[in-house]
């Protein structure tokens, strides 16, 4: 039940990958710390963000309707979709009516969640990822490694070979030149595309607006050059007012990459207005459920919906920093992935996942919206453990019984101490043989030496101390 996929062992044993993950996340941690230090009210901002999200989520129906009214008032349309199939159907239907074939896409975890590109391409659309990291991954048919730094695990040599293979260019290992190659290819796509698809970092209820933050400019281009803009977002992305961005924008960039503001923050409401020279002629916002209402129904779990996808928890997680983004079963990795994967998919699909944490709490400490991830993990563990009867359950039942009987606890300790084979110099144990060397002890000894039980317990020594 609690065995992790074999791939984890491979990742941990790969020194290059270990170095890449550790240094990249280390850098992001340092950037965040540097940008947060000068904010005297940083903790107050976190509390404000948490409260704003709680308020919005607890009144979500109201804000969904307000949002819809305002999108329509500005000339746009809102499309509610139960799941990814409905999203794809809507887009394909629209594309059919408009004779559209080419789509440019900016980075959106929500669209990865529903495998949107695959669905669209199966029906003859060309849907091009335009964020550099995502573009590379699309060519490689790989999933993102990290919410904010999707190609974290790749080297320039891999990128060079990829471009040569897929774009037919000469092998180029200089990163700046690789970027220029991608820029040129994608520029053509932006200007020829029929539809631009974006995600949304925030949906603003009082404005009917979509907020997209980025550093490259591909989201601006995707939402400004093509005649049709479709923004796709989970229903939980709502915040009540444009002025609430005053809280969230101060937290998002800093938490993600250590930037006070990302290079571009776009606040988009509706198609272009009368007199505006450019901008899309049609504007759609797709509001996706796909399991979110299930979390909403649970008063404890709905806190997971506060997430603003900054990636800070990933960067600070000592487990993520060892296993990287591809060892998580779903598109969302790191601590947030650890709680929402079972919350969306059911706890028994990947029952090992909530246990793959030392509960260190580094994630909760840096989460800009103060999601108590360790607490959610503990609740998921309780759900998993209590739904099964197993040897482990019986073992803990025994443990509890023993702990309520102090004299028997002392006796068991004594027996353990007598029967543990000890190295001659009474040092720590490196190997155990025979029937003792099973299960937990065997696993412990895979990685480190084991301390032997003390010959005399503290109880014994206290008596000898004579007080």
């Amino acid at each position: 039940m609690n065995t992790a996929p074999i791939k984890i062992r491979e990742t941990v044993a790969d020194p290059n990958l270990q170095k890449a993950i550790y240094t990249a996340t280390g850098r992001l941690m340092a950037h965040r710390a540097g940008s947060v230090a000068p904010l005297a009210d940083y903790q107050d901002l976190r509390t404000a963000a948490h409260e704003l999200k709680r308020h919005t989520i607890e009144n979500l129906d109201y804000y969904l309707e307000e949002f819809e009214r305002n999108v329509i008032a500005h000339g746009g349309e809102v499309v509610f979709c139960n799941d990814g199939v409905e999203v794809a159907d809507f887009i394909l239907d629209l594309a059919g009516k408009r004779g559209a074939h080419l789509i440019v896409k900016s980075k959106s975890m929500t669209t990865e969640e529903i495998d949107l590109n695959e669905r669209l391409e199966r029906h003859g659309m060309e849907s091009v990822e335009t964020d550099l990291g995502e573009y590379i991954l699309q060519l490689m048919h790989q999933r993102p490694y990290h919410i904010v730094a999707p190609a974290l695990h790749l080297t320039r040599y891999q990128v060079a070979d990829l471009f040569t293979e897929k774009l037919g260019v000469e092998n180029e290992v200089v990163i700046e030149k690789q970027t220029k190659i991608a820029r040129a290819v994608l520029r053509e796509k932006f200007l020829a595309a029929d539809i631009g698809i974006s995600g949304a970092n925030f949906l603003i209820a009082d404005s009917g607006a979509v907020v997209v933050v980025e550093n490259e400019g591909n989201a601006r281009l995707s939402t400004s050059a093509p005649k049709i803009h479709i923004a796709i977002a989970g229903i939980e992305k709502l915040i009540p007012r444009a002025t609430d961005l005053n809280v969230f924008l101060k937290l998002l960039g800093r938490s993600a990459t250590g930037q006070a503001l990302t290079v571009y923050t776009s606040f988009l409401s509706g198609p272009r207005r009368e007199g505006e020279i450019d901008g899309p002629e049609e504007f759609y916002v797709v509001l996706l459920d796909s399991g979110r209402t299930k979390l909403l129904a649970n008063a404890e779990k709905r806190e997971s919906l506060f997430c603003i996808r900054c990636g800070a928890c990933l960067n600070h997680c000592p487990v993520y920093r060892k296993i990287g983004g591809h060892n998580y079963p779903w598109i969302y990795s790191g601590p947030i992935g650890k709680i929402i994967t079972p919350q969306f998919h059911g706890v028994m699909q990947d029952p090992w996942l909530p246990f793959a944490s030392s509960l260190c709490g580094a994630c909760a400490e840096v989460c800009p919206v103060k999601i108590d991830i360790p607490r959610q993990l503990l609740q998921l563990r309780a759900e998993i453990s209590e739904s099964k009867s197993s040897t482990e359950r019986r073992a803990f039942g025994m443990y509890a019984w023993l702990m309520r009987h102090p004299r028997l606890f002392a006796l068991s300790g004594k027996l353990g101490s007598i029967f543990t084979p000890r190295p001659k110099n009474a040092g720590w144990i490196r190997h155990l043989h025979g029937f003792i060397s099973v299960g937990p002890l065997k696993k412990w000894l895979q990685e480190r030496d084991l301390p032997p039980p003390a010959k005399k317990s503290f109880h014994d020594l206290w008596k000898e101390r004579g007080k």
Binding site: N59, I175, R220, A242, L261, V263, Y264, F267, P271, E276
Partner: protein, 213 residues
């Protein structure tokens, strides 16, 4: 999709135990941190922050100097200039060789796609983050600050605001004004490959701020 709409709203209400039309709980108003910063200090701060981002700030006295700086920068290369009245005031729209006065999207897009420079003004600038705030309008198209590889923003010093708080305090509903408000903070960049920073990925890789005092 009206069925899905009803489904989802019904599920949301059921999950929260709320009735249709039920008003939300009260929400406290946004708190703005006002920052008392006289204009000369705003300019200093903006220049400092803009430079930190690898933007190139230039302080000038008066429109004539602004125009002269722009002329030297573009140095005969192609430039698209927006329809901002401030740029006309400064004479920048009249510079030899620049393209301006676009009102149609296709022509604008074609011009921007090949121009070396995109020259705009801005509605506001934020001193503490070195940010341009641009609202899309008949005066300012979106693509001018986006397609050409170099963006020059020419702004009057009194368009500078101290911080984001001040912006949202003055513009609590950007959607009332425009279909697009964009905050531009430095040149386009990425660190997607090996975490090595590269500028000018899709947006401009070089950005100038000409602050007219």
């Amino acid at each position: 999709m009206s069925d899905s709409r009803t489904d989802i709203l019904d599920r949301v209400r059921a999950a929260l135990g709320r009735k249709p039309g039920q008003p939300p709980q009260p929400l406290p108003p946004t708190v703005f941190q006002t920052r008392n910063l006289p204009t000369p200090e705003r300019v200093e701060l903006f220049v400092q922050q803009f430079a930190k981002l690898n933007g190139k700030p230039v302080r000038v006295r008066g429109c004539a100097e602004a125009c002269s700086v722009v002329r030297d920068l573009i140095n005969g290369k192609t430039a698209v200039v927006s329809n901002a009245p401030f740029l006309r005031e400064c004479g920048i729209t009249d510079l030899a060789g620049v393209q301006t006065g676009f009102t149609a999207r296709d022509e604008l897009s074609a011009a921007c796609a090949t121009a070396d420079f995109g020259i705009t003004s801005a509605d506001f600038a934020l001193a503490d983050t070195g940010t341009f705030v641009m609202l899309s309008s008949p005066k300012e198209a979106r693509l001018i600050s986006l397609l050409p590889p170099v963006h020059i923003g020419v702004i009057p010093a009194n368009s500078l605001l101290p911080n984001l708080d001040e912006l949202f305090s003055r513009v609590p509903k950007p959607a009332d004004l425009s279909s697009s408000m964009v905050l531009i903070t430095g040149p386009s960049r990425t660190a997607d490959i090996e975490q090595i920073l590269v500028r000018g990925v899709h947006g401009p890789g070089e950005i100038y701020a000409i602050i007219v005092e």
